[in-house]
């Protein structure tokens, strides 16, 4: 377990080798990357076994990285069940996605002699970035201190940026990448401020030490709340929560495997991970806790409604991701540590699978993503179709699929830990999430063929295999909630101090949850029939609302306005101010004035002899008077 730090090392090495020497490697080194991440995946298991054998920890292995003044910054590891779970999730999904990419990244390449199907020309770079991402994400979950966490946090953001913008010839991809980076960066400002503020007060970056101080009340409540909120800002950005979610739908411009890995299963969950990791901090502040819950609920509802209005298959999934991440925050806000982290895992698996399915569809349809141009795909692509349907059902909360179990936990947590208003909102969100999943499923995979969908076919085993494997996991992973063989996930993923607890079927909320999910699904199936008449009628009825959903609550134009009219305008204003006033007047001004004085002053040498003599005489008198009167 003390060697857990080696896990990120495998992909790191792969990254370094690929980044520098990929042109000398066969297939630009993609096999190396896969091997590395596979090694990491394998290496993660001993940690789990250690933990099962030794107890849940947490285990802290500090190591110094560098120090400045009184501060010491480490690269140590903090291993607790959450870490182990994340390690497995990240490496597992990474392996599958990288394998999947082998197929996905083979497409039409324009060469000198026409186009042919081949690996993307920059496949090596693609795998390098993937490796870096995996390494960073693993570091993030292992980090024992906030600075190392932040380092990894930024690096996963960078990888997200690089991979979203992987096809940098496409302006949309470049724009999306930029937007993703900058938007999350806004949150990161809060995160870094929060870290700096916390460290300024506690004097250490170490997470355990900080939490200990928080629990011992060594920080004033004001600072605690402030730090908690600032750190949460980072989580909001990274996990695409309201109001910083705008980058997530655009991020779908990247290759779909990237979306599956980064924007569904792993990176976006970093925010949840962060809050979960620092939950004592939030529990110490009611305001922070409620903020987290509120943002989570609002994001959950907004994501769901936007998913309902979106027509792009990947974006529907993206909004769904946002919505489910919202549920996790809601759970965290409610104190449902186990619920949130469990949902993180189940959602991660399901959503990755859904994305892979979507990728499979896109691959078959020449990058078509509009669900209105699909239809009847289930028949043409049985594996993909099965997977998608299972995924949709899972996320809707249909038992016994993955997300059912975790959603139920969240429901229980919300019902017990928060104001009833949150419960109402969450119930609505459950219905909505079932509804939009049904919609996507119904329109894309059932009904009649539209456009190119007729020629769609399944892809090779590299894509089908991971998809199938994830589907199986989606079906099965939720069952770990049950005490099968061990005491269930609740005995493993529990927050220190709250104690382990086994899964308990709640007599009230489990049926309610199932009923709502089924109702949503049914409603969706009924609403989005072939002709979409019923929907159109609704749409005309609630046009403004529909438009609000479609336009993503107008946050994009608002931000665009802020960027164009405030930030860039300020930039232009300052630039002109800098040139005209600071430079031309402030700095050149004295110079120009001096020169003007000089130009006037030179006329004092008039050329007249008399003036010269006069100056001598007058000067002599003046000097005499000066000396005389001065004496």
């Amino acid at each position: 377990m003390q060697n857990a730090w080696l896990i990120p090392l495998f992909p790191t090495v792969a990254f370094v080798v690929l980044a520098l020497f990929r042109r000398f490697l066969p297939g630009q080194g993609k096999w190396l990357a896969i091997a590395a991440v596979m090694a990491a995946f394998i290496a993660a298991w001993p940690v789990l076994f250690d933990m099962l054998g030794l107890g849940v920890g947490p285990y802290h292995f500090p190591r110094e990285w560098f120090s400045a003044g009184p501060l010491s910054i480490g690269w140590g590891t903090l291993v607790d069940p959450l870490t182990v779970a994340m390690l497995l999730l990240v490496t597992f999904v990474s392996v599958l996605v990288q394998v999947y990419s082998l197929g996905y990244m083979r497409h039409e390449v324009k060469g000198r002699r026409g186009s042919h199907v081949a690996d993307d020309p920059r496949i090596g770079w693609y795998y390098a970035a993937h490796s870096l991402f995996t390494a960073s994400m693993l570091t993030l979950v292992l980090a024992d201190n906030l600075l190392l966490l932040y380092v990894a946090w930024e690096l996963v953001g960078l990888c997200s940026y690089l991979l979203i913008g992987f096809w940098y010839e496409r302006p949309a991809a470049v724009g999306a990448a930029k937007k993703a980076f900058i938007t999350t960066r806004v949150g990161d400002v809060g995160l870094l401020i929060g870290i700096a503020l916390l460290v300024a007060h506690t004097g250490t970056f170490d997470i355990s030490a900080n939490l200990e101080m928080v629990e011992h009340g060594e920080l004033s409540s004001g600072i605690t709340t402030l730090v908690a909120l600032l750190l949460f800002a980072g989580a909001v950005g990274k996990s695409a929560q309201f109001p910083l979610f705008v980058w997530l739908p655009d991020a779908m411009e990247g290759p779909t495997p990237v979306s599956a890995l980064i924007h569904a299963a792993t990176m976006v969950t970093a925010g949840v991970f962060l809050v979960a990791r620092l939950l004592p901090l939030y529990e110490a502040s009611e305001a922070a806790r409620y903020t987290v819950a509120s943002v989570g609920l609002v994001s959950g509802l907004m994501g769901a409604t936007m998913a309902l209005a979106a027509t792009d298959l990947k974006r529907i999934l993206a909004f769904s991701t946002m919505s489910h991440l919202g549920f996790m925050f809601l759970a965290l806000g409610a104190g449902g540590y186990t619920a949130a982290t469990f949902h993180l895992l189940t959602h991660g698996v399901s959503k990755a699978m859904l994305f892979l399915a979507a990728g499979s569809v896109m691959h078959a349809l020449h990058d078509e993503t509009d669900i209105r141009r699909m239809g009847g795909l289930a028949r043409r692509m049985p594996i993909t179709g099965t997977a998608f349907v299972l995924g949709a059902l899972a996320l809707s909360g249909v038992p016994p699929l993955a997300a059912f179990w975790s959603k139920d936990e969240i429901l229980v947590a919300v019902a017990s830990g928060l104001n009833p208003l949150f419960l109402v909102g969450f119930l609505l969100a459950i219905v909505l999430s079932a509804l939009y999943m049904a919609r996507a499923m119904r329109i894309a995979f059932f009904g009649e063929h539209r456009a190119d969908a007729a020629h769609a076919h399944e892809s090779g085993w590299t894509m089908k295999g991971p998809l199938a494997l994830l589907t199986v996991c989606t079906v099965l992973v939720g069952l770990v909630a049950l005490p099968l063989g061990f005491d269930g996930i609740g005995s493993f993923l529990f927050e220190a101090g709250h104690g382990p607890h086994a899964f308990k079927a709640d007599a009230v909320w489990m049926p309610v949850g199932i009923a709502l999910a089924l109702a949503g699904l049914g409603l969706g199936w009924w609403l989005y029939d072939r002709a979409l008449e019923r929907v159109d009628a609704l749409r005309t009825r609630f046009g403004a609302l529909a438009r609000t959903f479609e336009r993503r609550y107008y946050l994009d134009p608002l931000y665009q306005w802020v960027v164009d009219r405030v930030v860039l305008a300020a930039g232009r204003l300052i630039a002109v101010f800098d040139r005209r006033w600071v430079n031309d007047v402030g700095m050149d001004g004295p110079g120009v004035a001096t020169l003007a004085v000089g130009t006037r002053l030179r006329m004092h040498v008039s050329g007249f002899f008399a003036d010269y003599g006069l100056a001598v005489a007058a000067g002599a008198i003046a000097l005499a008077l000066l000396l005389w009167l001065g004496a």
Binding site: G591, T594, L595, V597, G598, T599, L601, R602, H604, V605, G607, F609, D611, Y612, G613, A615, V616, A617, A618, G619, A620, A622, L623, A624, L626, L627, W628, G630, A631
Partner: protein
């Protein structure tokens, strides 16, 4: 009464040298007439070099004074005599080409240079008002004639007229001052003027008039107005002579006068000299900004430099006397280097406006480099002499509590950089118009080039390792030590 005439051996030799130059020039065989200029220059340069050697050999242990403090042959005088002889050698050297190309009286020219050096040396030695006055007149008369020796263009006539008439007026003012001082003390020897409690109106006016007259020689504002016109109108080597020799000699005289004759009243005259320094620096530097003629620009630049020296004079102490002497030495190298190039460009390319210097760097990289180095030195940038000499000067002034004056001085120094850069820009950045002399390669005469090399080396040597020179100067000002010490 000490009347050891052997102490004055260098002076006698110089006088003889001047006559020899005149006589040889007149008696030159017909076959040599076309080399008149070279012969005169050679005799003057070699002669002055020999005198320099004699001065150095005899000077060190022959400290003393003649005729009841009339003339001092102490180390202070020796230091300046060496400086003046060096200046004279350089000016004669650089004139070789100029005089040959532009003048009809090489013999007279070089003889007058020698006499000017003699006059300057006497100024540095003079310990008494009348002797000082006559030494000043010797130098001034030589310069009057040299300025008038310019080929018969209108500018030369104008320059010499203004110079002679104003010089006479200033002499009269100075003499009136001397007469009042004499009247108040009954003495003319500097050391006898220093009577405590004698700072009363009549001697004050006398002191003021004396300073005004010396200020004229120094080009201190407001007595400076002749400077640009004379600098512009005079033959360029003569301009160099005025700017270096005349200024340094006057400064030497002023130092000795203030040290031996007026130190007890320093509190009284310090403020006035400081004001004079401020005026001189600021007017000089501001006016220089708008100049278009290189020689005029250098004229105002020399006014500014005098302002810096005045800062040191206002704060006169042993330290600042050292610094002033160091500054003058560095300034001599620097300014002579600059004028060597200016003179060369005038002779070879007929250019003396700043714009006319366009393309000099391409045409003659060496000349441009020397001039640039000289200008940077004048601006007070390292590794050139100007940096350390100004630094020493301002530090010394600040030590006497005149930090505010130093602040103004460094400000003036900053402004001066602007106009020096204008010349640098013309030389390096601007391109010569096709067909003009500087559009093609400009060949330097090896004689001038050798001088330029030597002066450049001196400028840099003072800039990077002033220690030995400073030590020598330190020993020299020790002669005035008893008067300067606190």
């Amino acid at each position: 009464m000490h009347t050891d005439f052997s102490l004055l051996l260098p002076e006698f030799l110089l006088a003889g040298l001047a006559l020899a130059v005149l006589v040889v020039d007149m008696a030159l065989p017909q076959a040599w007439v076309h080399r008149r200029s070279d012969v005169a220059a050679l005799i003057a340069v070699v002669g002055m070099a020999l005198v320099l050697a004699v001065t150095l050999l005899t000077g060190t242990d022959n400290a003393g004074f003649l005729y009841d403090q009339l003339l001092f042959t102490d180390r202070f005088a020796l230091l300046f005599k060496v400086l003046f002889l060096g200046t004279g050698i350089a000016v004669s050297w650089m004139s070789q080409e100029y005089v040959g190309a532009k003048m009809r009286h090489p013999g007279e020219f070089h003889a007058l240079v020698v006499l000017a050096v003699l006059g300057a040396g006497l100024m540095a030695s003079a310990g008494e008002l009348l002797t000082a006055y006559i030494a000043i007149e010797l130098l001034s008369f030589a310069l009057y004639v040299l300025v008038g020796l310019g080929r018969g263009d209108r500018r030369s006539a104008e320059a010499v007229t203004k110079y002679v008439l104003l010089g006479a007026v200033s002499s009269a003012v100075m003499l009136f001052g001397i007469s009042l001082l004499y009247g108040a003390t009954g003495q003319t020897s500097f050391r006898d003027l220093q009577v405590p409690g004698a700072w009363t109106p009549l001697p004050i006016v006398g002191f003021a008039f004396l300073v005004a007259g010396l200020g004229f020689k120094l080009s201190a504002v407001p007595f400076h107005l002749w400077t640009p016109d004379v600098y512009e109108g005079a033959p360029t080597p003569v301009t160099a002579l005025i700017s270096v020799l005349s200024k340094s000699a006057t400064v030497a005289l002023v130092i000795r006068f203030l040290a031996e004759g007026a130190m007890v009243y320093q509190d009284h005259w310090q403020g006035a000299l400081a004001i004079l320094a401020v005026l001189t620096m600021m007017v000089g530097t501001l006016t220089a900004m708008a100049q278009t003629n290189v020689k005029r620009l250098l004229a105002y630049s020399s006014v500014t430099q005098v302002g810096f020296v005045l800062v040191g004079l206002a704060a006169l102490s042993e330290g600042s006397a050292n610094a002033i002497a160091l500054h003058l030495a560095g300034y001599a190298f620097t300014n002579l280097a600059a004028f060597t190039v200016v003179s060369m460009v005038e002779v070879r390319a007929g250019r003396e406006s700043i714009a006319g210097y366009a393309g000099l760097a391409a045409s003659s990289p060496f000349a441009a480099m020397v001039l640039t180095a000289a200008l940077f030195s004048l601006a007070g940038l390292p590794i050139f002499a100007g940096f350390i000499t100004k630094f020493a000067l301002f530090t010394a002034a600040a030590q006497e509590g005149l930090l505010w004056l130093v602040a103004i001085a460094v400000l003036a120094s900053l402004i001066s950089l602007y106009y020096y850069l204008r010349i640098v820009r013309a030389m390096y950045v601007d391109k010569a118009e096709a067909g003009t002399p500087l559009a093609s390669r400009l060949h330097l005469s090896p004689v001038s080039a050798a001088l330029a090399w030597a002066l450049l080396a001196g400028t840099i040597a003072v800039g990077v390792y002033p220690g030995p020179l400073a030590g020598w100067i330190d020993a020299a000002t020790n002669a005035l030590g008893p008067f300067l010490g606190s």
